[in-house]
């Protein structure tokens, strides 16, 4: 009788410990809106594969993601632009550990325009884009725009520039590109999620910019590649460092990353706008997860590391269905090694 009781007790103890092991791990993250559709799909699929891990992600914007990570209110952050040195220093001072950047997918910005009578894809030189957004090129038939577009009849009308009014990673990538191709832009305007635009109208969100461009004759704006693809918007080609005009697509964006991957810094904080390579699209960018280097809660740590590994191996296969460009192989290999830095 006593023995039987013991067995029952043992079974109960086992059940309890098993229960503890299958305890839910809830991870919270916040940040970039651009990769949100991808992340929410990944988190959902990962939850189906490992039902005890649940990841809750709020797409509050890259700036918000960085702020929440600094404040320690989330387990991880996400951003379209890497954290700058000051923010990294601040993180170290506040939390006593490092913050790690893990690239997840790639995005790109494309110039979209509405010019009377122009039906073909326009080609934009680096100089012409900088000039248009600085307000120094004001007419559509400016020689700098006309030169690479022989045979296209450009009107003698004023250019209406449209940009994002809300702070956004899309703007960060666009202004990062303009800063690299124009010193005047770099010194006068700079790069960031919101900048002091020399000219133009502001539209809220990709849809706001797209709406203004569609409605306003002779206008030009920039939107995310994914938005342009999903909404069948026409967009132009941009000149890259090799002097080639490249139309953005998933392959040319991954190509930009592949060339940058060869000299990828160890902290993965690299800008791939204006990347070298004949086939590289010049207005491309990584988007990152921001993860602290020390996570005291072992269950959470294992869950995050597990997810990172899964995302790099299996997750990458589902990117193109959602029109995101996948990471190049060398970057994945390097990231897989970096996962061990999370302790």
């Amino acid at each position: 009788m006593k023995k039987r009781l013991l067995v029952v007790w043992l079974l109960a103890a086992l059940a309890v410990s098993a229960g503890a092991q299958s305890n839910k791990v809830l991870l919270t993250g916040a940040g970039a809106t651009f990769p949100y559709p991808m992340y929410s799909k990944w988190f959902d699929v990962y939850h189906q594969q490992r039902p005890n891990v649940e990841i809750n992600y709020q797409s509050i914007g890259s700036g918000g993601g960085i702020r929440q990570v600094l404040a320690g209110t989330v387990d991880f952050g996400a951003s379209d632009g890497p954290m700058n040195d000051d923010q990294i220093k601040e993180f170290k001072e506040k939390r006593g550990v490092e913050i790690l950047h893990f690239p997840t997918v790639l995005g790109a910005d494309v110039p979209s325009y509405n010019v009377e009578g122009v039906k073909t894809d326009l080609k934009f030189t680096q100089k012409s884009l900088a000039g248009i957004f600085l307000g120094t090129i004001t007419k559509w038939n400016d020689p700098e725009i006309a030169r690479p577009n022989p045979g296209v009849k450009l009107p003698d009308s004023d250019i209406v520039v449209v940009h994002r009014s809300d702070g956004s990673g899309t703007t960060y990538v666009w202004t990062d590109f303009l800063s690299k191709v124009s010193d005047e832009w770099k010194n006068k305007v700079g790069k960031g999620t919101s900048v002091n635009w020399p000219v133009g109208l502001g539209g809220k969100g990709n849809e706001g910019v797209a709406g203004l461009v569609k409605q306003t004759p002779d206008s030009i704006g920039y939107v995310e590649l994914i938005y342009a693809i999903q909404n069948n918007m026409p967009y132009g080609e941009v000149e890259n460092t090799s002097g080639k005009f490249i139309k953005a697509d998933l392959a040319s964006v991954t190509a930009a990353a592949a060339n940058a991957a060869n000299n990828m810094p160890d902290d993965f904080r690299v800008s791939i706008t204006n990347a070298p390579g004949a086939t590289a699209y010049p207005v491309s960018s990584f988007t990152w997860l921001l993860i602290p280097s020390k996570i005291p809660d072992t269950a959470k740590r294992d869950a995050i590391k597990g997810f990172l590994e899964w995302m790099l191996k299996d997750g990458q296969n589902s990117t193109e269905a959602l029109a995101y460009a996948r990471l190049p192989k060398p970057v994945i290999a390097k990231e897989l090694k970096a996962i061990s830095l999370v302790q």
Binding site: I60, G61, S62, G63, G64, I66, R67, Q87, D158, V160, S165, D166, G167, S168, V189, G190, K191, G192, T193, S194, V195, N196, W197, G200, L201, G202, G203, K204, G208, G211, L212, Q215, T216
Partner: protein, 311 residues
Amino acid sequence: MQRLRHGDEVAHLLTLIFAALILLLTSMLVYELWVNSHLSRTKFGWMFFWTRVWDPIFNNFGAAPFIYGTLVTSIVSLVIAVPLGLAAAIFLSELAPRKISDTISFLIDLLAAVPSVIYGLLGIFIVVPLMRTEIGPHLIKWFGHVPYLSVLFKPPNYGVGFFTAGIVLAIMVVPFIISVSREVLLTVPREQREAALALGATHWESTWKVVVPWARTGIMGSIFLALARALGETMAVTMVIGNDPKIAASLFAPGYTIAAVIANEFTEATGDLYLSALIELGLVLFLMTFILNGLARIMIVATERGGGQPA
């Protein structure tokens, strides 16, 4: 009797607590805005009000274009909405048969409950194209050469800008003016009208010289309710104003308002000073509403002294 008095005390206490809560909420709001805008206040001081630059990269912030845009759009909206709303309210309360009046009022109350993003869409899809192709060119043709007025109606006209935002705001606030004014006009005692008519006044004279002045406190109230909504409106304005922080005399120029810039940039504001400047903008908006409401009170008191309905 005893029990009833007891109930009085409880009711007194409860209502006092709720009234005090409002006070507490307001003061906490001001306190939070004040404390969190510390960085920006100490760095820019009073210059914050005059600076015309808003540069998150080089950390130089000024509120002038946003204050200007907020005031201009609100004024434009009131210039359009007040005559329209007042006329409609007079028709509904004085001239229309009761049945029609009630039906229309019901529809107007419905309009007041439509979310602002819907008005924003209305603005983008209807007002903006109309402004670019019809209203704007005509206004420029009519007023473009009139001295003084020509400053206000200067090309280029993109369709988005102060004027479009003012029109969309006017559409949004007019239901408030109509609805409240009509209610107030309906409360004017019958004797007042009859007395005027008995003295030989026409229907219109009795309405305009007796009924409207009697109700003016309430009408003023409706206008300031409208103004408050116009000042703080965010979504609909940011969709049609062009979001360009510049001060331009032309009503066709793109501009920006305080509420719009906060909504646009708050989520992505990373720098401490940047965030602080945005919060100070919130404080400025609070201050503006406070001052305008104060002015409204003073105006109401002043007009009451001139006769009309006893307070």
